[in-house]
């Protein structure tokens, strides 16, 4: 058993941290958010040079074939820096492509080289966190399919040049079977994207598909059998946002602790008040418990035991989700008014933590998933 990062992981983390301090500080980030694109091509190149794009790509496609714990280390640092680049979207995309890697080797190589950005267009207006709730259709037509429908709140949907899209080739809207996955150029004919800001400094888009024609070659996995792929890749993404959230919470804890040491009221630092000390201890514990669960999830996302993977990942989404809520709200309360201003980094940590479960499922969603695992009555 070993809970330390490997030497390589530590090295990459350190390099990444230094890069963020130099290239992606508060002001730089603000400028990127305010820009028309909402993301930074320079930052993308910079991250690619550090090896972040090649990291999750299989070695066969010019990548490094990173483990879950490698990604844990990276996401934690990206969290501390609150990066708004389409990294998670792209990495999740890579996971989809990996399920059918030889077929999609070219795109994987492009990602590894920093030349492609991917977004995953899975959610729809009615689907909430249930990725099997797919109304969008893909109709077989000659040597391909014709897609019609609308995907909503697709994170970085307008910043990607490739989209991974779920559509129904068979079955009723909430059937688990009959769902297919396609990868396509984001500017394919019939696709229109409506880009907007998100409250946590990112971008998302609603994407309309009107008679979009794709080839059979764009399928990921077999037609109609995408659900197990979506399930496993969503868990991968969950583990990554847990790691990211741990990084944000660590930074939130540190900045709050620092504030309690320096802010003076009633002729003493406010950290001298015992009621606040105990609450800070509780915040520390929240971060450590969340870190433990995020580490466990990262270690299990490659597991062959699908039920154990689901249990661990949903357990992590529960525990990290609770911590994200508590740590974020408490940090603002302990900062008082100053934490309410957009000038303070802690406000941005808070916003990101607030949106922790908005894409991959909130605490209740994962409680439901956790308690509906067949082994729930026995597990411990």
């Amino acid at each position: 058993m070993d809970f330390n990062l490997t030497q390589e992981q530590t090295q990459l983390s350190d390099t990444l941290r230094r890069w963020i301090e130099k290239e992606y500080d508060f002001e730089a980030r603000r400028a990127i958010i305010k820009s028309a694109e909402g993301v930074s091509a320079d930052a993308w190149s910079g991250l690619a040079e550090l090896g972040l794009m090649a990291l999750p790509v299989p070695e066969a496609q010019d990548g490094f074939g990173a483990s879950g714990s490698d990604m844990f280390a990276v996401m934690q640092e990206l969290g501390k820096g609150l990066l708004v680049e389409p990294y998670l979207a792209t990495v999740s995309g890579v996971q989809y492509l990996k399920q059918d890697a030889e077929k999609h080797a070219e795109l994987l190589q492009q990602v590894a080289g920093g030349e492609a950005r991917i977004a995953c267009a899975l959610g729809e207006a009615q689907s909430r966190y249930n990725r099997y709730d797919v109304a969008m259709t893909a109709k077989a037509d000659g040597d391909g399919y014709i897609l019609n429908g609308r995907k909503t709140v697709v994170v970085h949907g307008a910043q990607a040049d490739h989209l991974i899209v779920s559509a129904r080739t068979d079955g009723d809207p909430r059937d688990h079977s009959g769902i297919s996955l396609f990868v396509m150029a984001a500017d394919a004919k019939g696709i229109t994207r409506s880009d907007y800001r998100t409250i946590d400094g990112m971008r998302a888009a609603d994407i309309n598909f009107a008679d979009v024609r794709v080839q059979v070659a764009s399928l990921i996995g077999a037609a109609g059998e995408a659900w197990p792929i979506i399930d496993v890749v969503s868990d991968y993404s969950c583990a990554l946002i847990c790691a990211e959230a741990v990084g944000i919470m660590q930074a939130t804890y540190e900045t709050t602790l620092e504030y309690l040491k320096t802010r003076r009221q009633f002729d003493q630092p406010i950290g001298a008040f015992q009621a606040l000390q105990h609450r800070m201890v509780e915040m520390f514990i929240e971060v450590e418990q969340a870190r433990s669960m995020a580490m466990l999830a990262a270690a299990r996302i490659g597991s062959d035991d699908a039920e154990e993977r689901r249990r661990t990942v949903s357990g992590a989404m529960i525990r990290v989700g609770q911590a994200a809520n508590r740590v974020g709200e408490e940090a603002i309360q302990l900062h008082g008014g100053i934490g309410m201003t957009n000038e303070m980094q802690v406000a941005h940590y808070f916003k990101r933590l607030t949106m922790f479960g908005a894409v991959y499922g909130d605490v209740d969603h994962h409680i439901n998933r956790f308690t509906h695992q067949p082994a729930f009555p026995q597990s411990a």
């Binding site: 909430r128 709140v153 609603d206 603002i332 008082g336 000038e343």
Partner: protein, 402 residues
Amino acid sequence: MNLDYNAEELDFRAEVRTFIEENLPSDIQAKVLAHKRLNRDDYKRWHQILHAKGWVAPAWPVETGGAGWNPVQRHIWEEEATRAGAPNVLSFGVNMIGPVLMAFGSDEQKSHYLPRILSCEDWWCQGYSEPGSGSDLASLKTAAKRVQEDDGEYYVVNGQKTWTTLGQHADMIFCLVRTDNSGRKQQGISFLLIDMNTPGITVRPIITLDEDHEVNEIFFDNVKVPVKNLVGQENMGWTYAKYLLSHERNNVAEVGRSKRELRYLKQLAMAYTSDGKPLLEDPLFARKVAILEAELMALEITNLRVVSADDGKSEPGPEVSMLKIVGTEVQQRLTELMVQAVGPYGLPFDAEFLEGETEHAVTGKDDAAPLTAAYLNFRKASIYGGSNEIQKNIMNKMILGL
């Protein structure tokens, strides 16, 4: 023990309800109900409608132009107004500086300012907090030095105030300033009325985490204030400030507003679905709503117990701190559950829609678009007006005596 309104109170409620139905402008009501941001004109318009009816100042005596209502009537008014989606009448004039002037102001100050508060000719803001003095208000540093000039005596004010709510719209500010440094920090504070158009005043927006411009920093650079704008006696300002804070209890529990928001939350949870079913039918979500509803039911009674014990004369007790704590917790939890109710639709941030610049949200989900901003904004509720930690300190001192 009788928890029902009597006939007289029921009549009053009916009167109030009818008036609101007939007079609340529907565009303002729509903004309030939809959690959109109000502008200066929205506030003024509603204020002037109430002024015309004589209802803008529920607690003021009739002879000063107030409604002269008793505490239960005021509670009914607040409940009905907020329930219907009326904006709050801004506190700074009617509930804050008004009562202070009535108690401590000169005759000239009363006759000049009180009518202008009622008519909204003067929009007031508050100059209490400073960057260095948040919870520890008495440590304030903004200095006022008394000087004799050719045309009379003045205070020359230098310093900075902060968290000045809607100060960008204000005509007047009431300020705590330091006129003496020699004694305890609570001594040597004076209470000044300052025209916002005086040279040397700079208003700088503070953009809050929801990207709203609601609060400001105000800088005073050799601002000359005539001595007749001193309230009461020099160096006695802390007494007046405490008086004001103790009267800042008006509708502190916000029960009416929270009931309205609870209904809205339920509507959302019926409209938004998971797995094809309304979210309100999900036992886990329904549970959270039920717990909150029970808390709010209890708060309503707790509030009424405090209200009905209020004879309108004696100082409000530390129970007001309890109303503040529970009231803000309920308000915050409501915004939190609304964000949860809309799931992924909590993510988009549509500033144009919030400011009323576009008719519909970019996502098409007009009901969801303002909610996360409202949640973020409402984190202030447990911080301003004496943070909930300060309220607990007060309750500990006044009730528990530990």
